[in-house]
Symmetry: C2
Subunit: 109 residues, 2 copies
Amino acid sequence: MPVSVVAVLTAKPGCGSRVIDAFREVSALVHAEPGCELYAAHLEHKGDTVIMIERWATQADLDAHATGAPLARLNELNADLLVRPYDVWFLDAVPLGDSTKGVLGPGAR
Amino acid sequence: MPVSVVAVLTAKPGCGSRVIDAFREVSALVHAEPGCELYAAHLEHKGDTVIMIERWATQADLDAHATGAPLARLNELNADLLVRPYDVWFLDAVPLGDSTKGVLGPGAR
């Protein structure tokens, strides 16, 4: 069963774009990890919060990502940029309403 | 330009499923609002946090949603269920890496 993840990275003032740069370096590597279905970066309009929206095919795939080289490199790049550790939630999607709008899909093909 | 939204609803212990019930009532109404591209509910594995992942076609569409009847009804349903007000972030998607995994799309068609 897929696992959805939301991770909130609260960057120090002015550091949001540097956190995005860290994701720029590792995103293609994470996308190539087994079971990665979504790993999509978002930057706050007014402020320095970065939010990752992720989906992994299985819990085992997510566990492997958590101990893999791309995340270790990301953590290294972000080491001095954040106000506090990542806030992370592990979630089940709950499909409601219109199936084209109530569930996340992959992006452009 | 589309606006992405992440809203975290921290429910009182045992109340997460009732918050999902509130979204069950209003989701189809929100999906029918102009400019709603995604409005997808997620429930925490262990706990009572509900996270909505949303995308709106324009800021004006999001502004209209914020003052519309479905959100007012949702707030009414959730009035006694939450530990604190919604935590909400307004975000730009930042496409990185693989375009099928680095950007959110719509769900099943």
